[in-house]
Every structure is written in C-alpha cells, then in structure tokens.
C-alpha cells in the first residue's frame, strides 16, 4: 500500500529542503516530495504541525545479545530504537562473545533481519577479544557487514596497536571508533574529578584522561591517514582538539551523547548509580563546549551510547555500579529539549546530527529524503510535552537518570523502509 505523509514541515538537510510538503512512499522507497500530492488509494498520515525528517541514525548502541539477553536483546533494542525515533542503529562490538569474528557479526545481522523493524549495522572489534593486543580479522568483519570497528568500552592502550588499527582499516575504508580514555590516569575513578568528587569522596577521572587519548589518536590519524571517530566526547579540551584536527583537514569525526549535554556532575550528588557513565558527567563548562561543538560542526553526530544494565547490577554502592545509561528512548527528547527549545542550535543542524552526520561517517546511503532513497522517516512533534517514564521503556533495562523528567519535543512516528514501526500520532 502506498503511503502519503501530508502537510508536515519537511526538513531534509541532505537536499536543503525545509518547507510544508507531502511525501509519497511506495514499495519502501520515496517516490515524490512536493506540495499537494493527491491522496488516491493511499494510507494518509496527517503530519500537520509536525516535522518530517529523514530516518534517524544512532551510531552508538550497546545491544547485549549475545551474552546478556537479560539486559537487552537485539529485538528489544530494535524496538527501543524505533520508539526513540531511530530507523538505523550501530551495535557495538563488546558483546559476549565479542563481535571480533564473522560468525558473531552474521548472528547479529540474522537476528536483526528476522526482527526486521529497523536496521542494525554492527561495528566489529578492532582487536581480538577487545584486549588491545592483536588486530581482529577486520577484512572478514567487513565482508560480514560491519560499518565500523571499535573496542568501545575499552580504550586501545597501546599506541602501536591503535596505529595498526587505523592503518589497516584504510584498506576497507572503515572508521575506527575510539573510546578515548587514558586508563592509567583515570585509575579507578567513577566520576568527573573536581569539587563534586572531592565533596562526595568518590575517586575522580580528570578530563585530561580523555584529552590525552583524543590527542594521541588524532596524532595517529595524522600519521596513518586513517579514519578516526571519537566516541562520546565529554570535555571542552576534547572538543578543542577535534576542532584543530578538522582545521588541519584530518579524517576525524566525533559524536556526543545526550547525557553529556543535558547533565553535569552535580547529578551524582545523591549517589544515584544511574548517573555513573563512562566518560563521566562533566562540568557546566564542558557541557557548553559540547553544545558549541555540535553547533559549529566540530561534533558530527549525536549518539546515545545506549548501555542497558540490569536492576541487580544497579542496586549497589555507587562505586560497584557498572557504567552506562539506557538512553535510546530519551535521546531525541533531550536533544530537542536542550538544544532546540533552549535555542542553542537550529533545528536543521540538530537533524543533521541524527542523519547526514552519522550517515557520512558510516558510509550509509541513508539520512536523506531523495527520490528513490529508502523510505526511512522520523516524524517529530516539537511541542509535545511528556514525562520520562522508565517503566514504559521498550528496552529491557531501566537504568536512566532522566526518569520523571519533563521534556518538550519527541519523535512520534518512525517509518522504516515504508513501514510504520512506531506510531504515537493519533490519526496514523
């Protein structure tokens, strides 16, 4: 059945379109984008007053399958993604077993295609077992379908191995996604180092633990000509280093996570384990720098670093809790609330961070409403007021510091290859 989305404000940064237009979809592809398409023999979605954008991409998601299916399965993570407004997600390699072999990547892709509601693009490991010692078979991983390689969760400690990873991946044109943390400096830290960690008596992680590694990786990108992507940049210094690297013309990109622009280390005050995340929540100054970096293009993408954890793991002393926030269902709401409604960044720029930004890094032919493109569409209601309720998550886990927070702006419909996979528009 043909689908027509009428009367919405279509914002498609890839084609520089911003206006009230209709979109006609057939056989999973975009057929036409223009005014007043006649609605004959079509399912009609009235998007009046809403934003119709290319399908959103989240390039940093931890699905816990294989290994921790109690926390998230490929299926539940995909449903959570659809509910969060995402048509495509990148799954990180730190599953158990690690996605360092074709079999694991093929397993993920098979499971994802069985579920089918959105697209899952796996990232493979840079090194075997994420140990940082020997390169994984990156060529075979690429054949199996990975769109990036990353040891995320762990930094690659050895500069030499990181160099090899960046260099070797050039053959396959894969970006190397770096979890930039100097673990020798961060020691056993559990939060940002500063007056809050001093007051709370918790071991701190200085910003320099991130900055040193970002600087190293940029130097290695310079040395090798490889494609470097910095995951979840959290510090002002990190943003400055990225800005310099981009000015030099290096092949460097970066993402920021919503919690790093929506919260500061103040949120740790009551020792809520849901505020523990790696890299940690930082200061106001860092938040401002990340927002500025998103606004000026230093940071290319917004990505959730969705990291589900079970209740048992969270109901413990702060220092024993694992790092990570279950964030894919609050991501778009936080971006619209903090970046759009607080007038920090223009809507079209925010949409780029979810579409053309990640698509370019990953080499995906997505994030656009071009005629003939996959009909992946995210519809936003900028004015919708809602309260985060973790108990309504599609994700199997509940670890969020945003529970109970009132937000304005939400993804209200997700269309994946012409199929409505999430819908909270009443008339839909």
């Amino acid at each position: 059945m043909r689908l027509i989305i009428k009367n919405g404000r279509v914002v498609d940064p890839a084609n520089k379109i911003d206006g009230v237009l209709d979109i006609l979809i057939d056989k999973g592809k975009i057929i036409s984008v223009r005014k007043n398409i006649p609605a004959k023999a079509c399912q009609v979605i009235d998007a009046k007053g809403k934003i119709v954008a290319p399908g959103f991409i989240d390039m940093h998601v931890h699905l816990r399958e294989p290994g921790r299916e109690d926390e998230e399965t490929i299926s539940s993570g995909m449903k959570a993604g659809a509910a969060g407004g995402f048509c495509s997600i990148v799954s990180m390699a730190n599953t158990n077993p690690v996605a360092d072999k074709q079999e694991v990547v093929k397993f993920i892709l098979r499971k994802a295609s069985e579920e089918g509601i959105i697209s899952v693009y796996p990232a493979g490991a840079v090194t075997k077992g994420l140990k940082g010692e020997e390169l994984a078979e990156i060529g075979e991983l690429k054949e199996a379908g990975v769109v990036a390689v990353s040891d995320d969760g762990e930094p690659i400690r050895s500069s030499f191995i990181m160099r090899c990873g960046l260099e070797y991946s050039k053959k396959f044109d894969l970006p190397v996604i770096s979890h930039s943390e100097d673990k020798d400096l961060s020691q056993g830290g559990v939060m940002d180092e500063g007056v809050m960690s001093t007051i709370l008596g918790l071991p701190g992680i200085p910003r320099q633990a991130e900055e040193i590694m970002v600087a190293r990786d940029i130097k290695l990108a310079e040395l090798t000509g490889g494609r470097l992507h910095i995951a979840h940049v959290s510090t002002r210094g990190g943003v400055e280093l990225l800005s310099q690297a981009k000015k030099k013309g290096l092949r460097v990109s970066a993402e920021a996570a919503p919690h790093h622009f929506a919260l500061t280390s103040e949120a740790v005050k009551e020792y809520d384990p849901n505020t523990r995340v790696s890299p940690p929540l930082r200061s106001h100054e860092d938040v401002e720098a990340i927002i500025k970096g998103l606004g000026d293009g230093t940071i290319d993408a917004i990505a959730s670093d969705h990291a589900p954890h079970s209740l048992e793991e969270r109901e413990v002393e702060y220092s024993l809790a694992p790092s990570g926030i279950d964030g894919i269902e609050t991501e778009v709401g936080l971006a619209l609330n903090v970046l759009y409604h607080e007038k920090k960044i223009k809507l079209v720029e925010i949409i780029k961070k979810f579409t053309t930004g990640p698509a370019a890094i990953l080499g995906l032919r997505e994030g656009t409403l071009s005629i003939g493109a996959k009909a992946n569409i995210t519809i936003l209601d900028l004015e919708k007021k809602w309260v985060v309720d973790k108990d309504k998550f599609f994700s199997l886990s509940r670890n969020t510091p945003f529970h109970g927070m009132s937000l304005k702006g939400k993804a209200v419909m997700t269309i994946h290859q012409g199929k409505i996979v999430y819908n909270e528009i009443n008339n839909g």
């Binding site: 960690s197 709370l200 413990v316």
Partner: protein, 304 residues
C-alpha cells in the same frame, strides 16, 4: 528545637542549628558516663544494629556503649562474619536485618555513598559511621565538641587539618561542621593528597606545616596510610614524617595554648611524635570520651 531528621549521613546537609543542638544535647549526656550506674532508660525497647564492613575498634565500641547506656538493645555485625562473604548484596543484607524489626542501622563502609544507598533501601534510621572518603559525621561532631569545650567557641577559631585530606572522611566532616560554625579552616598536606577543588568548600590550602603551625589555635592531625605511599602519592613515610610530622621542635613554634587532636589510631613517630601525644595540650583521649556522649546525643535525637 524540634528534631526532624531521620538519618545522619553527613554534616554537609545539617543546618547550623542542628549541629548546635547536637552539641548542646551532648553536654547533658556526658554526665551519665561519669555516674556509678552508667545507664538511663531513654531508648529502652529500641534495637540498634552496628553493621561494620571495615575494621574499627574505637567507633564501633563507642556507638555500642552509647546505645547500651541509653538502654537500647544492640547487635554488632562485621563483614567477616556476615553473609556478605557468601555474596549477599548490601541491600539484601540490610533488608534482612530490617525484617527483624530494628530501629536503626549504624554503618561503616569502605565506599562513599553506601549509607545514602542504604537509607533508600530501609525504613530504619541510618547513621553513617564513616563511608569511604566521604564523611564521618560523629567524628566531626566529637572533634568540634572537643574544640568548643576547650576553646569556648568555634566562631573565629583557626583550625589546621593536617594529613591525607584527599582520602579522609574525617577531614570532610570537620570542614563542613567547622565552616558552618564560623571557624577558619586550613588544610595542610603534600599537593598529591589535596583533592581538586577543595578551596570551593571554603578552606585554605597550604603545603607547609611550618608555615601554619604558629598561626593556628587547633591542629587536627590525620592518620597517614601506608597504602597511599605504595600507589605513588608520596615517596616515603620517612619523608612524610619529616615534612608533616608534629614533632617536639615543631610544636615549640605553635601558640602556647594550641590544641592538638587526632581521630586515632595514631602512627606514633610518623604523623605525631610520642612526646607530642603525651603533651597536656594533646586531647586524643578526651576526644574518645566525648565520642560516647556525642553518639548518645545522636542516637537519642534520631530515635526518641
């Protein structure tokens, strides 16, 4: 004043009036311990559990005696004998203890924030007997009580806290309490043992004991732990002692009526010379005596 608080987790959250009320209540409880029959019926029928996940002699005994002198029933659990060794979580341990109808849990734990977590798991009152590097509120209160007793008032008092400020819960509780009551606080340590941003807590930072010893009314000396040297924070106990140990010679430069304190246990000859420990201006044992009264006051206020 009307006491409303259910838990004592730290001095940071206490109002000035609450701290003063605890100190005033302590005054009236201190006398009980000097009687031939050291017991009053105030908390008869209440059950208090001492839950200690770290070794402690002084604090645990002090709490236990305080509870007993108020006629409460007490049980002491240490991590070595509890089911924690079988892998039971803190939440489960606490909820099982609570299911036996208890009124308060006094907890010592190696991790900062553990009592805050505990207070969210149980309905009983939670008293922090020291959590990681965060706070040790009753130690802070007994130190302040002792200073007030010896010096008359806290307002305007100059207090130097010397030692491993970065890892000290005693330092943090002292800082909050003393600042609220109007003292001037200087923290003295090698730069590696001064935590980042501590000036924002309202204290001055000094790296030299010799610079401050002549200017302060109170020296509160902290225990230095050997583990800190092993992980690279200072080169040797010998060098630490030479630079930060309170020796007879150093004490000569101090004000004549200086008060020297230490939360114990003291590393004699390291942070403090034995002669200094025996000096009449050193009040370590009076601190211990006052500790029982402070804890009686705290238990009374929280459980009455």
């Amino acid at each position: 004043m009307d006491w409303k608080r259910k838990h004592l987790l730290g001095l940071e959250e206490l109002e000035v009036e609450e701290i003063e009320h605890i100190l005033d209540t302590t005054d009236s409880f201190r006398e009980i311990s000097t009687r031939a029959i050291k017991k009053v019926p105030t908390l008869r029928g209440k059950t208090i559990v001492n839950l200690f996940f770290e070794p402690s002699t002084r604090t645990r005994t002090s709490f236990e005696l305080a509870a007993k002198r108020l006629s409460a029933d007490t049980v002491s659990i240490s991590a070595q004998t509890s089911s924690v060794v079988k892998g039971e979580t803190l939440k489960d341990t606490a909820r099982n203890i609570e299911a036996m109808q208890i009124d308060a849990i006094i907890m010592r734990h190696s991790m900062s924030g553990a009592p805050h977590f505990l207070s969210r798991c149980v309905k009983a009152s939670v008293i922090n007997a020291g959590d990681g590097c965060h706070e040790h509120p009753t130690q802070g209160l007994l130190d302040i009580f002792t200073m007030r007793e010896k010096k008359g008032s806290i307002k305007g008092l100059k207090v130097a806290i010397v030692g491993d400020i970065a890892h000290s819960r005693v330092a943090r509780s002292n800082i909050w309490g003393l600042k609220k009551l109007g003292a001037e606080v200087i923290v003295v340590a090698p730069p590696t043992l001064i935590p980042m941003g501590i000036e924002e807590m309202g204290v001055k930072v000094c790296f030299s004991l010799d610079e401050v010893i002549g200017k302060v009314d109170v020296l509160n000396i902290l225990r230095i732990q050997l583990e800190r040297q092993k992980c690279g924070l200072f080169p040797s106990i010998r060098e630490y002692s030479r630079l930060y140990g309170v020796t007879v010679d150093r004490l000569k430069k101090a004000k004549k009526d200086i008060l020297v304190m230490h939360p114990g246990p003291v590393n004699l000859g390291v942070e403090m010379a034995a002669e200094v420990a025996n000096d009449p201006r050193t009040v370590i044992l009076e601190q211990v005596t006052n500790g029982v009264a402070i804890r009686m006051a705290v238990l009374y206020l929280l459980l009455q």
